[in-house]
Symmetry: C2
């Protein structure tokens, strides 16, 4: 198809990589596993950040910044946390280079060895809770509702642009509360913020639920998550919200004087989303022609392409185009008028299709005569000719319709690919043939979960928050079960 994009039906992974690279979202860097986020990709990320950040602030959170470095000893303080995070991480051991004696360049100065090694943060619970100890003495200091936008590093062996990279960008919320109830409410509130963002902005339907013990965040009492279904039938975890109980408060000795003048450990939560959402956005909606962007996250919502042969024609078109542009901008719609003479209209059409610009307007001399403009929508690739009179409100309505249509399409895809099964044979067959979310009974044991995973590659994505009250028998062990859980192969 367009510009040498592999078809999804041929090789889904290659299709994904083609879109990310050819739509100028990101590329691999000279450092293994790290990515370069290119201007167009970063503009989408900035729109995501702005929307999420506003939702955080509207729910009472403030931004802060904690250091990149974590002393090695901090990682050992929470027993489960160290098992989960202290292993594959970047370790700073020295603080100086010097010229090599043979003039070949610079070498690490052996005399500049740190007394205690520093870890590049894989997540910041430890450094933040060590600070909360200083900030929290009394119930009056609570709640603390903080978030940071930061880069983190997890030394991954197999990486894929956006989906799994050694360094990635994310936000991590870290809150502290006087009561268990309040912390639990916060955990679920932020899960809702993530779900709302995914659905309203990314146009991506998500399931909400709680993770099994196996899939839980290292150091959490409970991990809640949102899970989206990609077009290849695999699940993608798109945000997690952790109820930490008093685990980190105990590890870092963060106690407070309660209203009743007792001492108690502080209750905590943490929650995060990352540039992984960019991968989800690409895979949720795009097609064999390129990226498909929901209007709310599109850096360019409308592109105007002039169709002309002679310079005089361009001059006439420009007048109309600039007027449309400024009227659309007055409605807070971002518009690009691409009057470059170095590229032909057909090339531009393919380019903006590839980059997922939701609406394209084309204006030629005949349109000027007739008072019309050609309008094309990226999601359905439909074209029509409309009167230039009503173009502004037409575009406004169309952007809303595209946003809704993309969501509806993804929702219908998920509904079609969410299947209830009652036997392990059926379970295996569906996962092997088409994937999707598979709702099945499970006996609640780690052993069964692991066996199913090793035999089918499917994991329990979540236990629904509000399961239907349907008793049944585990598809693997036949033991009794209180509700169906959601299985899928996952990114």
């Amino acid at each position: 198809m367009a510009k040498g994009i592999t078809k999804r039906s041929e090789d889904y992974a290659a299709w994904y990589n083609d879109i990310v690279k050819k739509a100028d979202l990101a590329e691999n860097s000279p450092v293994r596993g790290c990515m370069i986020i290119k201007p167009y990709g970063f503009a989408i990320w900035e729109k995501m950040q702005a929307a999420i950040d506003k939702m955080f602030k509207d729910t009472g959170h403030s931004n802060v910044y904690f250091p990149l470095f974590i002393p090695k000893s901090f990682m050992s303080k929470e027993a489960a946390h160290v098992e989960g995070f202290a292993k594959e991480c970047a370790v700073v051991t020295h603080y100086r280079l010097k010229n090599a004696d043979d003039g070949s360049g610079v070498i690490v100065d052996p005399e500049a060895k740190l007394e205690e090694e520093l870890i590049i943060r894989p997540t910041s619970e430890t450094v933040i809770w060590s600070t909360y100890k200083k900030w929290i003495q009394s119930y009056r200091d609570l709640p603390l509702l903080l978030n940071q936008w930061a880069n983190v590093v997890r030394w991954e062996m197999r990486t894929r642009l956006f989906l799994r990279t050694t360094e990635f960008l994310w936000q991590e919320g870290h809150t502290a509360h006087a009561t268990k109830k309040e912390a639990e409410e916060e955990t679920l509130k932020m899960l809702d913020v993530y779900a709302t963002f995914a659905e309203k902005f990314m146009a991506m339907p998500v399931l909400k639920g709680v993770k099994t013990e196996t899939e839980r965040f290292a150091g959490a009492v409970d991990t809640y998550c949102i899970e989206a279904l990609m077009q290849d039938g695999k699940a993608l975890q798109s945000g997690t919200s952790h109820f930490l109980g008093q685990n980190f408060a105990r590890a870092f000795d963060v106690q407070f004087a309660t209203k009743e003048e007792n001492l108690d450990y502080v209750w905590g939560t943490s929650w995060g989303t990352s540039t992984r959402l960019m991968g989800a956005l690409v895979m949720a909606h795009s097609d064999d022609n390129g990226l498909v962007l929901p209007p709310k996250l599109a850096p360019i919502q409308v592109v105007i392409v002039p169709i002309y042969k002679k310079p005089e024609e361009l001059a006439d078109i420009r007048k109309v185009a600039e007027q449309m542009k400024s009227q659309l901008q007055d409605k807070d719609i971002s518009v690009k008028f691409d009057d470059r003479d170095t590229y032909k209209p057909g090339w531009k059409f393919a380019e903006y299709e590839l980059k997922g610009v939701p609406v394209r307007l084309a204006v030629g001399p005949r349109d000027l005569e007739n008072g019309t403009v050609e309008i094309a929508r990226r999601d359905t690739l439909e074209k029509s000719v409309i009167s230039i009179e009503g173009v502004i409100s037409h575009v406004q309505n169309l952007l809303t319709e595209i946003q809704e249509n993309i969501y509806r399409k993804a929702f219908n895809f998920r509904e079609t690919n969410t299947i209830q099964v009652d036997s392990y044979d059926e379970f295996k067959a569906i996962l092997a043939e088409r994937g999707g979310f598979v709702l099945a009974h499970w006996d609640g044991t780690k052993e069964t979960e692991e066996k199913i995973k090793s035999e089918t590659m499917a994991t329990i994505r979540l236990i629904p928050l509000h399961p239907e009250n349907e008793k049944g028998r585990c598809i693997y062990s036949g033991k009794p079960s209180d509700c169906r859980v959601v299985f899928a192969k996952a990114y």
Copy 2:
């Protein structure tokens, strides 16, 4: 004074630290030399970022993200750059920890040693130009006008909150151009953006100029800067813009086909400002009562404090206060109504004075009777009682006036403390007694510059962009000089 802030006249450095800590801007972290930026400090930084970022976008720049890690060998490619930056930096040598055999915690896994060490970026020219080589083939690919907001690390021995920290936040612009002229214009354009930001938003007057060779960015042909004068008579470099010539293009072999179909090396610029600006902001305007913020960067521009004894009184005040708040918010003014009953009005007054909130409104029962409100401005500490009728437009005008007054005060301070001298004795006396910007003739040699520095601690902050055409003789060597340069002791 207020809340135990050291007076400027007693100990300026202690005063600065007191303000930063007591106004909740930042504090030291458990990791040596790294800071924690607290919610109130970060809210100011976010306002700075938003204003600067908009100016970048309005001048055609896009944001991107390049990796945190730089392969050690990259640092050696530009000869001057390696001397300046490859020395005091954080070096990642390993990518895994493991449990210690004695159960004492985690240790670095000696088997997980990197083949090539990675440097935490002290600045990103090397990794960016190594990528530009892939992105630039023809003049059609130029200019590239990119910027990134990122954290960087320079291993500093002596650190001070905001002013000099091992890790800091900054933005770094990196542009690539087809001609020398265009790159030089870009360098000066971004210097102007910085100067405009400092003056219009920070209310901080700056001098613009070019650095001497000694003070130049490692790898640049010319470094331009803006310099501001702090209240203790020391200069603070507040932004730099570098004309890189073809240095990094040569180091990373970035050539392009010109319009005339020749091959040429690409011309480059880079420019940056950092959280150091937070330190400048504190020192430029604050007083012995605490922070003084220009309204354009104040997270809270107006605070409303109720004065009451009985709950009924608060209920009446609340009606009026909430109405004022919403009317002010309609004018895009950020307002806080502090109705906490855990603190008394006097405590709140001191608190908002300490935090530099530009305007304070106080409303009590008698004000309700009289239709008045007490209004206090932070910059002059003046109070007056005004009719509640005109309060909205009064506040609007007052915010503008405060912004201008703060600037004027800083401007007058700088004018008073900018002194022209013609003898080395006078030069030394002024620097020893009062500091300030000292305009003096210099013979243009590195030797003289170094001798003056070692004898007086003063450095050449800049050579003016448009010097007055006044010939003279170097205050140190007596040799001829074409213009005066600006000396000062500096942060």
